[in-house]
């Protein structure tokens, strides 16, 4: 895996506000996600971190009454511009959810291929190669290579989550969004996903939402702390955790609230 050429790729939010009806879940957040880094978004439950993440690939608007004000810039193009097709956008931004979501009627192979097939038919051999590449990137290939045609549900929770990562990276997106990817996993499964983050950031720009601060400290280069929908502080992870500038951040990372 070599860092791709598009190091100028930038993802950034500009004065982004996300609403559910009248209620503002994310308030006026401007945040830059540098290319080939892992940015962690931390904060207590209900602080808007998942909502912010879901604005980046326009999943937020799928909720009834949900709206967005402000901009999300991907390579300096506002993804909320009129001529941007959200379906095509989501093919450029992979996403993994809190709980593993393998498609229950599909085999392991078909799960990984699912995101490739929406881009039209491709030769069998190329499909095989792409599926293998994705499974290797998700560090799952060796465990499943002999049973690619069996149900994805036979895998353990941790394996299912890595399968979901393989499915997300198979179409070779530019950005990878992880929404509390280890919330339902045991420590061993969690560790494997965290190790993956270090490998995958060479290829993808990663944004991870977590309410586990140790996890944020372990995997991320930058950390953003959110509280009540506001972006309180953002900075290099080692700086934010050792000498936070805002008192609220310090209170949260030292466990005084949250």
């Amino acid at each position: 895996m070599v860092a791709s050429a598009n190091t100028r790729l930038r993802l950034e939010t500009v004065r982004l506000t996300a609403l559910f009806g009248q209620q503002r879940a994310v308030r006026d957040v401007s945040l830059l996600f540098p290319a080939h880094t892992v940015t962690a978004i931390i904060g207590p439950s209900g602080c808007g971190k998942s909502t912010l993440l879901r604005c980046l690939n326009r999943m937020h608007e799928l909720t009834p009454d949900a709206t967005v004000v402000g901009e999300v810039l991907l390579d300096n193009v506002n993804v909320y511009a009129r001529d941007v097709n959200p379906i095509e956008l989501r093919r450029r931004i992979g996403m993994v959810f809190q709980r593993p979501t393998p498609f229950p009627t599909m085999s392991i192979y078909d799960n990984v291929a699912a995101g490739l097939r929406v881009n039209g038919k491709r030769p069998r051999r190329q499909m095989d190669e792409d599926v293998e590449r994705a499974l290797r990137q998700a560090a799952l290939w060796d465990e499943v290579k002999d049973r690619l045609r069996t149900s994805a549900l036979a895998l353990s929770g941790g394996q299912q989550q890595r399968l979901c990562i393989a499915r997300a990276v198979a179409p070779q997106p530019e950005i990878l969004l992880l929404d509390e990817p280890t919330a339902s996993l045991d420590p061993a499964g969690t560790q494997r996903i965290e190790e993956l983050c270090h490998l995958l950031k060479r290829v993808y720009t990663i944004v991870i939402v977590t309410h586990n601060m140790q996890q944020a400290a372990r995997v991320s280069d930058y950390t953003a702390f959110m509280y009540l929908g506001n972006l309180v502080e953002v900075g290099r992870t080692n700086e934010l955790f050792t000498k936070p500038k805002v008192e609220q951040t310090e209170a949260y990372i030292t466990g005084r609230f949250g």
Binding site: N57, M59, L62, P64, I87, E88, L89, R90, R91, G94, M95, F97, R99, T101, F103, P104, T105, M106, A114, G115, V118, S151, L153, C164, R167, A168, P171
Partner: protein, 268 residues
């Protein structure tokens, strides 16, 4: 309290046992090879069978399923996936009203709009009359089955860049397929026993026919005519036909059960 519930349950089960037992006692002795292979003989004579009614049931119910399943399942998919607005509310309301419509009314309506204009009773008219109660039944069960599919699966598909329609077909419908098929079989089994919608449409036919534009016999119509007729031989055949119809419904229901178990036994 528990004792009361147990007694009431036993009464419910007892009814089924009595019906089945009675059918077997009175009907089984009349069932032989000729019963399945021969058409009825003129009234008063011994012998003959109900081959025409068995084949007729398969054709009339089969065509009803061909009409009812696509519309019912499609409607149910619409209700579950897109039916949150006013149109969805309206469709759901109409389906519920239609579900409660007496089947004899459906028969009269089918006669008015199909038999009368075309000037003939026909198997096709019977199939349409059977499809009408099938559609709301399948729409509502399909809707329930599709609603059981976790929203996280829809989101996972949408996040992969699936369009809404592709998500509905490739992920949601496929995941709910076991339940949908079960619902279809239960719906088919239910209309297979219907008589009232067929009285003025398929009408019945003492001869063997495969022509869907002609009147056609079904088991339910056969039972109706034979059971109300004056001959002992007819009563005998009515019992046997009832047993066969009951067996048919039972087989369809068991198949539905089996499919459900195959599907959800694996999905843990």
């Amino acid at each position: 309290m528990t004792a009361l519930v147990v007694v009431l349950s036993l009464i419910a089960v007892l009814a089924l046992v009595v019906i089945l037992g009675d059918l077997v006692v009175k009907g089984a002795s009349s069932i032989d090879w000729a019963f399945f292979t021969k058409s009825p003989v003129p009234a008063g004579q011994a012998g003959g069978g109900v081959a025409n009614a068995i084949v007729g049931t398969a054709i009339v119910v089969g065509m009803a399923a061909l009409i009812g399943v696509p519309i019912g399942v499609g409607g149910g998919m619409y209700l579950a996936e897109y039916g949150s607005g006013r149109l969805g509310f309206l469709v759901r309301f109409i389906a519920d009203v239609l579900n409660g419509t007496p089947s004899i009314v459906v028969g009269v309506v089918a006669w008015t709009f199909i038999v009368k204009p075309t000037h003939r009773f026909s198997a096709l008219a019977g199939s349409i009359a059977l499809a009408i109660p099938m559609i709301p039944m399948l729409a509502r069960t399909t809707e329930e089955m599709v609603r059981l599919v976790p929203n996280s699966l829809r989101e996972a598909a949408l996040a992969l860049g699936y369009a809404r329609w592709r998500t509905s077909i490739k992920v949601v419908a496929r995941t709910a397929l076991g339940g949908i098929v079960t619902g279809c079989l239960v719906g088919i089994a239910r209309v297979a026993g219907e008589t009232a919608p067929l009285l003025f449409t398929a009408l019945g036919n003492l001869n063997f026919t495969l022509s869907v534009t002609q009147p056609m016999q079904t088991l339910s119509l056969q039972i109706y005519v034979y059971a109300t007729g004056p001959f002992d031989e007819w009563h005998r055949l009515a019992w046997a036909s009832a047993l066969v119809l009951m067996g048919l419904v039972l087989v369809i229901s068991l198949t539905a059960r089996w499919i459900t178990r195959q599907r959800y036994g694996r999905v843990r």
